[in-house]
């Protein structure tokens, strides 16, 4: 009874009478029927309307991409102009400095001043200053360019992208990485030479341990600077750093116990012999009658 009533209701409430179909077909057809309140009814009936939809979608996406490119293009041009202009300025400043310092005999003055620092490079001081000034200008150009690019990108009323923050942070991260790697290499070499001259058998192990400690520290700083990983990086760094320290301590304390004790004993022997040595053996090596100076 109820079923018959429902069928009747369908028949009377439909916009168009559907004849020659059974109840299930009617129900499916009703589900596909468009809403009468819809303003622009899509036409799924024919293949022309589907192609039209695809075409519209493609046009819209093309429009979006072109709009994005047009929004980015001024910033990109500004970036390139800033880098090129500041590079040219840097070249001019560098050339001027080079000539000015050569005229003032800057290199001769520095050499006569007896500068003997371990940190000087193989280049002459004036060439170094000129090169630093050039690269400083290029760096300033890069910073200005990135800022201009960032500003134009932000004002383009486009959806924010996660690229720019990483781009700006990446510059700092690269500097951190380079500085950390150089420092690790320098420290490892210093420790290696000192350990070898102190006659420590585990010199290479010590040097490698120091190197990796600094590299791990650098890696953690870089990831932190890039804001990657968050607390996971800090935790992993803590575990890794502690692990390396513990490994070194165990290696030196347990694995190389005999070596360490021998080293300490020989060092103590040398010290005691030095203190008790007669005047003729001043500066002696291993308590023998060798005097280096």
């Amino acid at each position: 009874m109820n079923f018959a009533l429902t069928c009747e209701t369908f028949r009377t409430s439909g916009t168009e009478p559907m004849q020659g179909v059974d109840f299930m077909q009617n129900a499916f057809a009703m589900m596909l029927q468009p809403d009468v309140n819809q303003t622009s009814p899509p036409s799924y009936a024919g293949s022309d309307s589907i192609w039209q939809q695809i075409s519209e979608s493609l046009h819209q996406s093309l429009y979006r991409v072109l709009s994005l490119l047009l929004a980015v293009l001024p910033g990109l041009v500004a970036f390139l102009v800033a880098v090129v202009v500041l590079s040219l300025v840097g070249m001019a400043v560098s050339a001027l400095l080079r000539r000015g310092l050569a005229a003032a005999k800057f290199d001769d003055r520095i050499t006569r001043g007896g500068s003997n620092s371990d940190w000087m490079t193989s280049s002459s001081p004036s060439a170094l200053i000129a090169r630093v000034s050039f690269w400083a200008c290029v760096l300033i150009g890069l910073i200005i360019g990135v800022s201009a690019f960032d500003a134009s990108y932000a004002t383009a009323a486009l959806p924010p992208s996660s690229l720019m923050p990483y781009l700006t942070h990446a510059v700092g991260a690269v500097f951190l990485l380079i500085a950390g790697t150089l420092f690790a290499r320098f420290l490892a070499r210093s420790v290696l030479i000192e350990a070898v001259n102190a006659k420590l058998q585990y010199a290479r192990l010590l040097s490698l341990g120091i190197k990796w400690l600094v590299l791990v520290l650098t890696g953690a700083m870089v990831l932190d600077h890039l804001q990657i990983g968050g607390n996971v990086v800090e935790l992993a760094f803590g575990i890794l750093f502690s692990g390396i320290v513990l490994t070194l301590a165990l290696a030196v304390g347990l694995g190389s116990r005999d070596l360490v004790s021998r080293s300490l004993e020989s060092h103590a022997d040398r010290s005691s012999e030095r203190l008790t040595a007669p005047p003729a053996t001043s500066g002696a090596d291993s308590g023998d009658s060798i005097r280096h100076f």
Binding site: G114, L192, E194, A280, S282, G283, D285, D288, S289, I290
Partner: protein, 396 residues
């Protein structure tokens, strides 16, 4: 350390007459100071002397001597740049004709040595008089391995101890050395050793060498090879770098002393095993570092040395010469950090010492071996000059 007018607070000499010779003493223990003063009164006419001593000296003990206070100097193991600045200021202030600088450990210098050093600069045309010490065969080895051969090969000087701690100076020599020292003091390197022989050679001043007899040094606990070798070689390499225009020109070496000074007998057999082990440890650890500095031929020589037993351990003179020259070139070119470079030289120097002791033990006179090494440095000087001028040229 203050560098300007360091002698301003110095007490003027009691007598009005200008002293002939100013004797400048560096910091030393009281008993050594008294010994030096006793030697001075024995060997030189006291009326022509003015002694500048940093420590308080009892004038009643030496009434004939005119003693003034010298500015406090650092207790260095050798004469430093700051000492030369002070010395010239003192000589200029007191209008002395010549100077006698007596560094630490100068108590062992006898009266004859003091007299010879002083008379050379007072009575002859010598501008710089230096002592030739009589040492045991195993003493002064840095000097024998590096300082003397380099000084002889590059500056054409036969002075056996270029870094002597007792010197006689004419006033113009003192002025020149003070000028060189002042440049170091200005850049806060007043503790750096100065190279009087090199300065005298560049200036064309006359240099005299005099036998000084046995020289005994007291123990200095803070002085070890790892400190001394980098300090001395670094200062010498730097000086050679600064005087490159001078030493690249060929020069005639003065005639050899005849006969060669004979070393005193050795204190006994020396065990070279620790030094050979140090070299082997360094070879396994520092090979990569050495390969940045040394050419393949030298590395091959070191490899052969690595495989040699301690009893047969001999470093060829030519190999040692190339090692020193290549380290000098790397110092100039800053191939690696200079501190690292000089640290990496220490095990190679120990290998030379082990080899030298073996050569001496085989019956060869140590002094003859040192002369042979110096001659090898002279013979290979063209290699240094060529690589100094064209460092990028192929070097097998």
């Amino acid at each position: 350390m203050a560098t300007t007018d360091q002698m301003s607070e110095m007490t003027a000499p009691a007598a009005g007459a200008s002293p002939e010779l100013l004797v400048l003493l560096t910091a030393m223990p009281q008993e050594q100071l008294e010994s030096v003063l006793a030697n001075l009164t024995d060997s030189l006419p006291v009326e022509s002397l003015l002694v500048a001593a940093p420590e308080a000296v009892s004038k009643t003990a030496y009434p004939a001597l005119r003693i003034v206070a010298a500015p406090p100097a650092s207790a260095s193991w050798t004469l430093t740049a700051a000492d030369f600045v002070s010395a010239y200021q003192a000589a200029d202030k007191n209008k002395a004709r010549a100077l006698l600088m007596l560094g630490p450990q100068s108590a062992s210098l006898g009266s004859a040595g003091l007299r010879a050093l002083s008379n050379a600069v007072l009575t002859t045309a010598t501008d710089l008089s230096v002592p030739c010490y009589d040492l045991t065969p195993n003493a002064g080895l840095i000097n024998s391995a590096i300082l003397y051969p380099l000084s002889r090969a590059l500056f054409a000087s036969r002075v056996r101890f270029p870094l002597a701690t007792e010197l006689g100076l004419s006033l113009r020599m003192a002025e020149r050395l003070a000028g060189a020292a002042q440049r170091l003091v200005t850049v806060d390197q007043g503790e750096t050793p100065l190279w009087p022989i090199n300065e005298a050679s560049v200036a064309g001043f006359a240099v005299g060498q005099f036998d000084a007899g046995p020289h005994v040094q007291e123990v200095n606990p803070g002085l070890d090879l790892n400190t001394v070798l980098p300090t001395v070689t670094g200062a010498l390499f730097s000086d050679i770098d600064a005087k490159a225009a001078f030493w690249q020109r060929p020069r005639q070496l003065p005639p050899a002393r005849d006969p060669l000074p004979q070393s005193r007998p050795s204190d006994g057999a020396v065990d070279i095993t620790p030094m050979v082990q140090s070299f082997r440890l360094a070879y396994t650890n520092l090979y990569e570092l050495w390969s940045l500095v040394l050419p393949p031929n030298s590395l091959f020589g070191l490899k052969r040395l690595f495989a040699t037993d301690a009893a047969q351990f001999r470093m060829p003179d030519s190999l040692w010469v190339r090692v020193v020259y290549d380290f000098l070139l790397a110092y100039r070119l800053r191939t690696i950090n200079r501190g690292h470079l000089l640290g990496a030289l220490i095990p190679l120097y120990l290998a030379w010492v082990a080899s030298h002791i073996n050569v001496a033990a085989s019956g060869v006179s140590p002094e003859s071996h040192i002369e042979a090494v110096a001659a090898a440095f002279e013979a290979d000087k063209p290699y240094l000059v060529a690589r100094w001028r064209w460092p990028d040229r192929f070097n097998p």
